[in-house]
Symmetry: C2
């Protein structure tokens, strides 16, 4: 069944999420702009990497920045540095943090760092959660937006209060900003406004920005210099990172100004879903370019319905569905350039068929 939905999705002409297919063109386009005689970075040195690091440090309002091949590596290292600084091998984060569920326990297996899980799985961390926790932790990690619950955000005032509290308690505050740029239109803040509240910051170059891969870790110079030593230990001090850096820079410039559009599109799109029976988005009104769509129907039924709709309208809503416990399922929507390419009649027809299909499922129950 899953294959059928994924297969039907592959045949569609339009897609709700993302920018364009993740194919070699993504790199080719970025490289076409670059002079072939430009010399590679070499183990973290050279103009290509240093210039981009300086640029991102400026953008994030931090003293220095380091380019990493992945956020997994960058964030484990950030937490290790803060754990070593305080000589406390314990950090706190959300139960659905990327580190807790997607990294094969690298933080524990490689760095022997314990974790304290804050808040419930279905809401973001608040100041009360932090006040209630055992204070003997080196660092608190906040993910903005909280991806696994549809991209929810605390208010900026909550962030400020958490920041003040952590500084008083001598707890380092780290930002998992994989999708930081995507939150700026909602917060109506600059990246450096947000980052000023944190001791260390990670952003991804391939989520909303759509680069090939790579991450930036930023903070004070003493922190970033320590991170370079750990980057080498992790095997991330790759002789040439330029394929990632060039594409990161190219798509950063191409899309940094489009985050407001993605956010507005997400709000509009979520409203479409919320008008369909048995369907709700989380958050109900998105606060970034992303949200989750929950349908209170059996996964197999919705798979069949979607596959049929894709064939008729050529618009793919999702390539997969995830089952939730109680006869329901969900998928993630992450708005990028693709959304604007969908003809309005195609979008309207798709939602009409989706609503009608769910109604028919309900009648037959």
């Amino acid at each position: 069944m899953e294959t059928t939905l994924a297969e039907a999705f592959k045949q569609t002409s339009y897609q709700l999420s993302g920018h364009s297919p993740r194919n070699l063109e993504v790199l080719k386009q970025a490289l076409d702009q670059a002079n072939g005689e430009t010399i590679s970075d070499m183990y973290g040195k050279g103009e290509i990497i240093e210039d981009f690091q300086n640029k991102m440090a400026g953008f994030l309002g931090k003293e220095a920045a380091v380019f990493f091949p992945s956020g997994t590596m960058a964030q484990q290292i950030a937490l290790r540095i803060w754990a070593d600084e305080k000589q406390v091998k314990r950090v706190a984060y959300h139960p659905l943090s990327h580190l807790e569920i997607h990294e094969e326990d690298g933080l524990k297996e490689l760095h022997y760092i314990d974790t304290v899980l804050l808040a419930d799985e279905d809401r973001v961390i608040g100041l009360d959660d932090i006040k209630a926790m055992d204070k003997d932790i080196a660092c608190l990690l906040l993910e903005l937006p909280q991806r696994e619950i549809g991209g929810q955000l605390p208010t900026f005032e909550t962030l400020e209060a958490i920041s003040v509290y952590c500084r008083k308690q001598n707890i380092r505050l780290h930002l998992d900003g994989a999708r930081l740029l995507e939150t700026l239109p909602y917060y109506k803040k600059s990246a450096s406004d947000i980052c000023a509240l944190f001791d260390s910051v990670y952003i991804s170059m391939y989520k909303g920005l759509g680069g090939v891969a790579g991450a930036i870790l930023a903070g004070e110079t003493s922190f970033t210099e320590a991170s370079k030593v750990w980057k080498r230990r992790h095997g991330g001090d790759i002789i040439s990172l330029y394929p990632y850096i060039l594409s990161a820079d190219y798509y950063f410039e191409k899309r940094r100004g489009k985050m407001g559009q993605y956010y507005q599109d997400a709000v509009q799109l979520a409203a479409f879903f919320n008008q369909c029976p048995a369907t709700m988005t989380i958050p109900e009104v998105p606060v970034s370019n992303m949200f989750h769509v929950h349908v209170a129907k059996r996964k197999e039924e919705i798979e069949s319905l979607l596959a049929a709709i894709y064939q008729e309208t050529e618009l793919g809503l999702t390539s997969y569905l995830k089952e939730t416990g109680d006869e329901s399922c969900y998928f993630e929507v992450s708005v990028g350039d693709s959304f604007q390419t969908i003809p309005k009649p195609v979008l309207e027809r798709t939602f009409k068929l989706f609503g009608k299909g769910i109604n028919e499922l309900t009648v037959h129950e």
Copy 2:
């Protein structure tokens, strides 16, 4: 002074070592061959990565292979897997192993694995060294060729004896084959002939092969599957590795057949150096494409001499010199495509000037 030599080297038209400048053209050429609509690998899955892994497994005569962003990551992981298997957190290798001197102690700081250093710094590990060591180690790592001593090699018979001995003693044998292909013409063996002696094998895609970056780790499927879990923990399970994979494949095909030529060129070139006064190569007769050139003169004197020669002949012998304790210095030569582009008169004139210059230094002493 160092800047002067490096600057003079940059201005040369010909270089003794390497293939061509490490610039963006290296990637552009590899990408030009590829279809832009080819879909990226995704976190270790997809045709691009799986096809290349299968190809390299076949080439190395192993059950399976995994593409890594770096050898540093691949080798630490190999040793961790063998240490966990035996529940012994100790491995053995040469005192000048890459892991011991170039990785900021990642093996110790990340994996808490102790090391036993075998043999003297200036020679390769022999069977006697292994017989004499404490047997309570999980794995022995052999580097072929031993780069930091000019690329020396044990005989194939010694390798066979070490392999038999380690199997009897229940010690895993890992091959640091960063430059494995470069040894095959000397051994007159296939890659799989050599790899059959080892439990696990790493090869680099950017040394003699000249790719952009990346490494292959190969072994039995149970080993490579475990390595994928550790790759994710290290932050090496990058969403898209294709820039490295495509270039690895392109330059593997372009240069795998040229290793015999590089080896012969290195032998010829070492003879030129050995004819110069106060100059000797290690090994005296190379056994791969590489060797070290030792000059029994002060580093500053040789820097000035070389910079002057570069200006006159436009042939760069090295961009740096390393001081050794006793008023002498050395540099590494690693033969690739560049050597064949040097006009014979330029080569001869350069060595004539080099020999003459050293003689004059001696007269003035």
